[in-house]
């Protein structure tokens, strides 16, 4: 992948999603066979929060508000998704009446997702207005150093890990802006944060029903797709109803299953597949990637 891009110069890497293992990049460096510049976002964020206690406390409060909003969302999401699944498994004498009901039920879920996003955007906006976090001195200093490293790099790599931690770092240090025209290669949680909307998902968790839930806005660098990394292990891709519901819920965006050996490439105008990348279809199946 990197070889195809004709890149010259070191690679900036973000491994902040690995949290305290952020520095353990030996394997990644060996894999890339190039010089790497670790942006150290996890460590930098820890430092910022140590230096700026007021911001740190404000973030705790913001996260608490986000958690409460999430609790409300989950309470409403569970029954809604349950009803959608029931409709998908229902056998009735007049089956021709079902598609409209199913479509409307999915729409209700999508509306709830949208409502939740409005709520959390409001929480973020209120926080940003009050605290202007990107202009706090400790953040400005760190961002300057990061910008310098990005400038020296031929590409930015964003690894996976904890998607919430990663998103907080990338947002606080405005990586979405700093990256400019630099090519970005991201995987796992890294791929999720590049999209417009981050979806948390696992069809077989040890507790709970495994209802896929919207988490937050991503950086929006990868438009019109919902990234589903490790789809083969995390999703029941042979469960037609589940695939159908997921696909319908986020239409017109494409839900893309990203497993080992495949990916998707955005050239600024259109998507193309890398390897056997597949998307979830409204028919409940997997199909080759088509530009959304």
């Amino acid at each position: 992948m990197l070889d195809d891009q004709d890149l010259d110069g070191p690679l900036a890497v973000v491994t902040g999603g690995w949290e305290e293992r952020e520095d353990e990049v030996d394997d990644l460096r060996d894999h890339c066979q190039r010089e790497t510049l670790n942006l150290g976002l996890y460590k930098r964020m820890e430092d910022v929060l140590l230096k700026d206690r007021a911001l740190s406390q404000a973030l705790v409060d913001r996260n608490d508000r986000l958690r409460v909003a999430q609790t409300f969302y989950r309470r409403r999401l569970g029954p809604l998704l349950d009803s959608v699944r029931r409709l998908h498994h229902l056998k009735v004498s007049r089956m021709e009446l079902l598609p409209a009901e199913r479509a409307h039920a999915i729409l209700s879920v999508a509306e709830l997702d949208a409502h939740y996003m409005t709520q959390i955007r409001g929480i973020h906006a209120a926080f940003d207005e009050l605290w202007n976090p990107t202009e706090r001195p400790a953040v400005v200093d760190a961002r300057g150093e990061i910008a310098e490293l990005v400038k020296q790099s031929s590409a930015l790599l964003i690894a996976g890990g904890h998607v919430g931690v990663l998103l907080d770092q990338l947002t606080l240090f405005e990586l979405g802006t700093l990256v400019g025209e630099t090519p970005v290669v991201a995987w796992s949680a890294g791929a999720m944060v590049l999209t417009e909307r981050i979806l948390l998902f696992h069809d077989s968790p040890p507790q709970g029903p495994g209802d896929p839930e919207v988490y937050d806005d991503g950086l929006g660098l990868a438009p019109q797709v919902v990234a589903l990394p490790h789809a083969r292990t995390r999703l029941k891709l042979d469960d037609r109803a589940r695939v159908q519901i997921l696909s319908g819920r986020f239409a017109p965006a494409s839900c893309v299953a990203l497993d080992e050996g495949c990916g998707v490439h955005w050239n600024g105008q259109a998507w193309s597949a890398i390897g056997p990348a597949r998307r979830l279809t409204p028919q409940g199946k997997l199909a080759g990637l088509v530009a959304p």
Binding site: W18, R21, G160, A189, P206
Partner: protein
């Protein structure tokens, strides 16, 4: 009880020849032969009697096989519930002598501190994949920690599990497990922890595997044991390893008498453990009169009676499991509303299994992931 179609077919033309018996065995092995919810156990050999010896509470503990006249073939067909797992032996009578053996026609066995039993499973039971070593799972490690016990006046040895990617700079939840060596050996606790942590279903945690001296005495709600765990083991582990310092990050667990030891320790030291994991606890009590479980249970019954009178709040969350084929199922069920009434968050799970280490192994995922939810939902790497 209905018969086995396969046995009926074998016997339809009268006494089968030795060759027909042999062919029947070869065709259907391994045994027991499962036909729907029926299991047919088979034994070949000359004996005066053959019996199915199991530990299913509610069924006669020993059921006789039928001998096919004129042959050395014995069989017994029983109706079993789906998704069951049953440990058993065969009791072979020779005159006045009886020997207990594992089923020679069944390769499936379960080990325990007393040896091993044969295992019969019915449709719907499958050994969970997370109980097997997985090639891609990062492994944690075990190390020894010696603790001198004032309570018992002797040195005690703990095995400490450190998760894969353990770092001194991070703080971890702590789980203290009674009968640690047995959990490691018979419930493959290390493999399970490695897998569940690797799958992000539980957070990386430190586990102290503790072992008793005089088990039946110490684990029977002995105050010295509670003192040993809380005033000796806990400080020693916390001094040596980076443990999160809050009750919600501490859990104590055990099975059978180990369940009693866990509950009584938490009860004597409320506020120390936020979580309890109690498996097939030997929670015998009496409402009136005496119990009939033997002298070892005397202190247990005294404790449970006292506990039921004044339960207090030994923990904030308690996960309990018990096999429905155990006599202890009634005591465990009756404990649930009592704990709930105290405002404790309780999850109680029943399994179609008995009082054994593989039942306890199979409940690890549900219990640990409920008490300590892992980062699965937010980590993608």
């Amino acid at each position: 009880m209905k018969g086995s179609p396969a046995i009926r077919e074998l016997l339809q033309d009268g006494t089968p020849t030795p060759a027909a018996v042999e062919a029947f065995i070869e065709e259907h092995r391994p045994f027991p032969l499962r036909e729907g919810d029926r299991a047919t156990f088979v034994f070949r050999g000359n004996a005066d009697g053959v019996r199915w010896q199991h530990w299913i509470f509610g069924l006669a503990s020993s059921q006789s096989f039928h001998r096919v006249q004129g042959t050395d073939l014995w069989y017994l067909t029983v109706d079993l519930r789906p998704a069951s797992r049953i440990e058993y032996k065969l009791a072979i009578d020779y005159g006045e002598n009886t020997i207990l053996i594992r089923d020679p026609l069944n390769p499936l066995k379960a080990r325990d501190p007393y040896g091993a039993n044969s295992v019969c499973t019915t449709q719907g039971y499958e050994r969970p994949d997370w109980t097997f070593p997985q090639a891609d799972t990062r492994e944690g490690r075990l190390e020894e920690l010696e603790v001198y016990s004032e309570a018992f006046g002797e040195q005690r040895s703990l095995q400490i599990y450190l998760p894969a990617r353990f770092r001194d700079s991070r703080r971890y939840p702590l789980l203290i497990m009674h009968d640690g060596s047995d959990y490691l050996r018979y419930s493959v606790a290390k493999t399970v922890l490695d897998n569940l942590i690797h799958r992000l279903e539980i957070p990386p945690m430190i586990v102290a595997f503790s072992n008793p001296g005089d088990r039946l005495r110490e684990y029977a709600a002995d105050p010295r044991h509670a003192r040993h765990i809380v005033e000796e083991v806990l400080p020693a582990v916390c001094a040596e390893y980076p443990i999160e310092d809050r009750p919600a990050s501490r859990c104590i667990m055990g099975a059978s008498f180990g369940g009693v030891a866990s509950l009584s320790t938490a009860w004597r030291y409320p506020g120390v453990f936020g979580n309890l994991f109690l498996q097939s606890g030997s929670f015998a009590f009496t409402d009136i009169g005496t119990h009939h479980r033997g002298a070892a249970f005397d202190p247990v019954v005294d404790f449970m009676n006292e506990f039921r009178e004044s339960p207090g709040r030994p923990a904030e969350a308690i996960f309990m499991s018990c096999g429905v084929y155990e006599s202890l199922i009634y005591e465990n069920r009756s404990l649930v509303p009592l704990l709930q009434k105290c405002g404790i968050q309780v999850r109680f799970v029943e399994a179609r299994d008995g009082h054994n280490w593989e039942n306890w192994r199979d409940r690890f995922r549900e219990g640990l992931s409920w008490l300590f939810p892992g980062p699965l939902w937010k980590v993608y790497e």
